[in-house]
């Protein structure tokens, strides 16, 4: 099987514009949650595209375009693509798609009638708008589509991209996820199902956790076939070692109580990578700060990794930037590969009070250096679990 490497990363997150901004600020313990939400306050669309491009993109797609530009530049893709464009794919994930566009146009429909609905409503709100925009902007003519699996979509997209390269459908795939859910309907809907934190605090794995904090943003990675990337002299950030996906078939929103589905995704990813639990040095947890997820994920980690689960650092990016829904897995994969590169486990910000049975090393408050013993580049898994019982785990290794 061909190896698949990460050659470029880009991100727009509540911590700022840029993948390295995310990594450096999270590692330093910064938290972007303000008034119970985590908006991308530093993002100004005029810095990233023309007014015409901006008008034709929902906020989620605008994030994807900015993150995509950064990722392609980071990969050293100049004006000319490094491979036949028909062998470069694009797969992005989203949980909801262009919900801001949908809500605005529904307001117009209700208030002033059907003739007022924008002709741009469909191309802006369709869930595949992000992958379409990156394909158009960069001339990517390989397989192009989006993946929808709620809060696991970003990881499913990356896993799908990995398979496309492994199977020879593509030499490279631009992949990741984007979401812009800070809208009235989305806020109300998540609040009504008691998923959001009423106190507005994201503190994954802490006994006082009471729900997630909604964020927004995008993460984009450039994956390339390892042999092709090396042949063109690309700088390699890390390797995508494995991918595992599973379904709970248990409940539409609640995870399996013993974390069986999540554990299976992790075990499949490890098997796919050819690793055992002893090979894992760090876990980037799904860690949403909801009562159900964080307990079930802790159990899933113990089930999948056995005693190794209590020997390695496990932290949640959502403690710093909230929950980016369908973008979360992509942004967290980027945070993971940069953490591995620096041999560090960024912290779970705000973790203070342990809960009975949740006794893993959640890296409270301050980043920890990874403890490495066998001399090979460190390995991590990154978990994403979505409503519907969708579980996806990525296994990454530093270069």
């Amino acid at each position: 099987m061909r190896d698949v490497v990460i050659t470029g990363v880009g991100a727009v997150t509540p911590l700022g514009v840029g993948a390295r901004v995310l990594h450096e600020r999270w590692t330093a313990g910064a938290c972007a949650v303000r008034d119970g939400e985590a908006p991308c306050a530093d993002f100004d669309v005029v810095d990233h595209m023309t007014s015409k491009e901006a008008r034709r993109a929902d906020r989620a797609t605008q994030f994807a375009i900015a993150a995509g530009d950064e990722a392609l530049a980071d990969a050293g893709w100049g004006d000319e693509l490094p491979y036949d464009p028909e062998l470069i794919g694009c797969v992005l994930g989203t949980g909801i798609g262009g919900i801001g566009t949908l809500e605005n146009n529904h307001d117009l429909l209700r208030d002033t009638g059907p003739d007022s609905v924008s002709p741009l409503a469909v191309p802006l709100m369709m869930s595949n708008a992000g992958s379409a925009a990156l394909s158009l902007r960069n001339g990517l003519r390989g397989p192009v589509f989006s993946v929808v699996s709620a809060c696991a979509a970003g990881s499913h997209a990356i896993g799908t991209a990995l398979r496309m390269i492994q199977h020879g459908e593509a030499e490279a795939v631009v992949t990741g996820g984007a979401e812009a859910p800070l809208t009235p309907l989305s806020r109300a809907a998540f609040a009504r199902m008691n998923a959001l934190s009423p106190t507005g605090v994201s503190r994954p794995f802490d006994a006082r956790r009471d729900g997630f904090v909604m964020g927004e943003g995008a993460g984009v990675l450039v994956l390339e076939a390892g042999d092709a990337a090396r042949a063109r002299g690309a700088r390699i950030l890390g390797t995508m070692r494995g991918y595992g996906a599973s379904g709970d078939a248990h409940h539409i929103t609640a995870p399996h109580k013993e974390g069986r589905g999540g554990a299976r995704a992790m075990s499949i990813a490890l098997g796919d990578a050819g690793f055992t639990p002893a090979d894992i040095d760090y876990v980037n947890a799904h860690g949403t700060s909801t009562q159900l997820n964080d307990r079930a994920e802790t159990l899933a980690l113990k089930l999948a990794l056995g005693e190794r689960a209590s020997q390695i650092p496990i932290s949640s990016t959502k403690s710093a930037i909230g929950h980016l829904l369908g973008a979360a897995g992509a942004v967290e994969a980027i945070a993971t590969v940069l953490a591995l590169r620096d041999r560090i486990a960024p912290p779970t910000i705000g973790w203070e009070e342990p809960e009975e049975g949740m006794d893993l090393d959640y890296v409270p408050g301050t980043a920890q250096p990874l403890k490495l013993s066998n001399g090979r580049p460190p390995v991590a898994i990154s978990n994403s679990f979505g409503f519907g019982g969708h579980n996806a785990t990525l296994c990454l290794q530093a270069a």
């Binding site: 023309t50 007014s51 015409k52 491009e53 008008r55 003739d115 007022s116 924008s118 741009l120 191309p123």
Partner: protein, 84 residues
Amino acid sequence: MATTTTTTPQSIEDTVVESLVNFGADADAITRDATLEDIDVDSLDLVELTQVVEETYDIDLDGSDFKTVKTVGDVIDLVVAKVG
């Protein structure tokens, strides 16, 4: 949104040009002779322009009305004729 001022060919031209600029066309490049391709105005822009014109002048345009236009001048003349 009905106009409160008198509709003239010049005011219609102003509405068309203002719309094209709002859609992202370069204001300096908009002349009567400029082709829609020159100023990067495509079919989606024309559908939006149809909506603006219909709302502004309270008229109905046919979806096929813009099918033969090539230049900004063609667009302006067509709208002036329809508003009549």
